[in-house]
């Protein structure tokens, strides 16, 4: 059954809660939480919202308190270690005391924040940005753009009052070569929480008038080493990496390179150095022009000289060749004219010799003819007496033969050898003058004539 409820005053209750909590949470605890909003008040005290998110949903939330003096201490150590002031929307490792105040309620009083954890977190964020850019293929995107031959038109993202800007402009405007740059300032925060979005915004503006510019430079200087974690901001880095013209950075610090510096087309340590880089690009354009003039002068002049020499050489050859040709023809002509005279002399000599030969032949043949005829006449003059003598001998022997015959035939000579001639009636006895028995015959001898009578007749065998 319901008793009559005991009624406490609010203070009683709240005090009881405070007591209970104080008893229960006497220690200090290390808590990892995201500090959503710092909520620093004019008093210097901060009342940050502490959150824990899982899959984007807030699963725990509590108010924190940092008393002014502690905040200053913590912030000092952050700047020393992290090179960044304590800032919102970061996960921090903080030492807290659970406090309950009758008027203000429950909060975690932050007595210390570990700057090394924050530093780790920053590094992680930097890594994440790099990883994401890499995944998206943007890591080298800006660096792969071709650099204009002359980075004449420069969109400068900087702060009006920046020492870096004036250093940079000093280099560009006061160069001794009269290189002329066109610069236009696009003012932005260069550090701290607003820097990333501010720079992104200016980049967007520049994009609108992109055709007026060759390069974008982001210069900062004299701002110390603090508040540069914005240059690891993914969105900013993405904007830089994917920017259609080269983005050059000259942020002026000596710590680890930020992601923005890494992915920029080129990073210079200082704005002055960045200015020098642009000047150098002009030099790179200007020097070849000077060289070209020299080169053209040297080569064109020597080409002409070369041709002149070739021409002189050729005209010398022409002359010597022509003279040689004339000389050769002259020699040929002399040789031919010598041949004419020697051949003619030979022909004349030859003809003279032939005539002499013929004269000699005529004489020789005549002499032969005379000799032959003389021999013939000689022969005949020998033949005449020889034949005549022969004839005489012949006639003489003929006569002698005849004389011999005649002598042989003389009857006297027959009778002398003992033969006799018998005649009958005065005639020699023959068949026509036959003797008969009793006929008287006369026998004549050389010395006698004998008369006889025929007694017997027989026929001669």
């Amino acid at each position: 059954m319901p008793e009559s409820p005991k009624i406490f005053t609010l203070q009683q209750v709240v005090s009881s809660i405070r007591k209970t909590i104080e008893e229960r949470y006497q220690q200090l605890y290390w808590v990892k939480a995201e500090m959503h909003k710092l909520n620093r008040f004019a008093s210097g005290h901060c009342f940050p919202e502490l959150l824990q998110k899982e899959n984007g949903r807030i699963v725990a939330q509590i108010r924190g308190t940092i008393w002014n003096h502690q905040f200053e201490q913590i912030n000092q150590r952050f700047i020393q270690v992290v090179k960044e002031p304590l800032k919102e929307d970061t996960t921090l490792l903080m030492q807290v005391k659970v406090t309950f105040h009758e008027s203000y309620g429950l909060s975690l009083q932050i007595v210390d924040i570990d700057p090394n954890y924050a530093l780790g977190e920053l590094q992680r964020e930097r890594q994440e940005t790099l990883l994401k850019l890499q995944k998206e293929g943007l890591l080298n995107a800006n660096q792969q753009l071709s650099f204009p031959l002359l980075p004449k038109r420069v969109a400068v993202i900087s702060a009006d009052s920046s020492k870096g800007l004036s250093d940079f402009m000093q280099v560009l405007d006061k160069n001794e070569w009269n290189y002329t740059f066109f610069t236009m300032l696009f003012p932005a925060y260069l550090q701290g929480d607003n820097a990333a979005s501010s720079i992104i915004q200016q980049l967007e503006r520049i994009k609108k008038v992109l055709h007026h510019f060759d390069v974008v430079v982001i210069v900062r200087g004299g701002g110390g080493e603090v508040g540069l974690s914005c240059y690891n901001d993914y969105e900013l880095c993405k904007a830089i990496a994917s920017f259609p013209i080269p983005v050059l950075t000259g942020i002026g610090h000596s710590t680890n390179l930020t992601v923005a510096e890494m992915i920029a087309f080129r990073n210079a340590i200082t704005p002055t150095e960045l200015g020098d880089f642009l000047i150098q690009a002009f030099h790179n354009f200007s020097f070849p022009l000077k060289d070209a003039t020299k080169s053209i002068k040297y080569y064109a002049v020597s080409r002409v000289e070369e041709e002149k020499n070739a021409l002189v050489n050729l005209s010398r050859h022409c002359r010597s060749g022509a003279q040689q040709a004339v000389f050769n023809n002259g020699q040929q002509l002399i040789a031919k004219s010598r041949e004419v005279s020697s051949n003619v002399r030979y022909a004349l000599q030859h003809n003279g010799q032939q005539i002499r030969l013929h004269a000699q032949n005529a004489q020789r043949a005549s002499t032969y003819l005379f000799n032959t005829n003389r021999k013939l006449v000689e022969q005949l003059s020998i033949d005449v007496p020889r034949t005549a003598k022969n004839q005489f001998l012949l006639k003489k022997s003929e006569l002698d033969n005849l004389l011999h015959s005649v002598q042989l035939m003389d009857p006297i000579n027959v009778l002398k050898r003992g033969f006799s001639i018998t005649t009958l009636n005065g005639k020699t006895i023959k068949s026509t003058n036959k003797a008969q028995k009793g006929d008287k015959i006369i026998t004549k001898t050389a010395n006698f004539s004998i008369e006889s009578e025929v007694t017997e007749i027989t026929k001669t065998p």
């Binding site: 204009p148 031959l149 002359l150 004449k152 038109r153 070569w177 009269n178 290189y179 002329t180 740059f181 066109f182 236009m184 503006r205 609108k208 008038v209 007026h212 002009f282 354009f285 200007s286 070849p288 022009l289 060289d291 070209a292 003039t293 080169s295 053209i296 080569y299 064109a300 080409r303 002409v304 070369e306 041709e307």
Partner: protein, 65 residues
């Protein structure tokens, strides 16, 4: 020569001419033409070093547009 020729092209053309002249690949007939051209290109490029055509107001106007 047209002023419209881009200084980049001018620079490339100049480099080519210089290379040709250096190689002795240019005949005497072409030489003065080429040298003249080179001279124009050099002038054009030099002018580019020391001149500017951009106008901040114009850009601002475009930005506001």
């Amino acid at each position: 020569m047209s002023k419209d020729i881009k200084y980049t092209d001018a620079f490339d053309e100049l480099k080519q001419i210089v290379a040709d002249i250096e190689d002795g690949e240019i005949s005497v007939d072409e030489l003065s033409i080429k040298v003249k051209r080179a001279s124009e290109l050099i002038k054009l490029c030099k002018a580019k070093l020391t001149s500017t055509e951009e106008d901040v107001n114009q850009i601002l106007k475009e930005l506001e547009g």
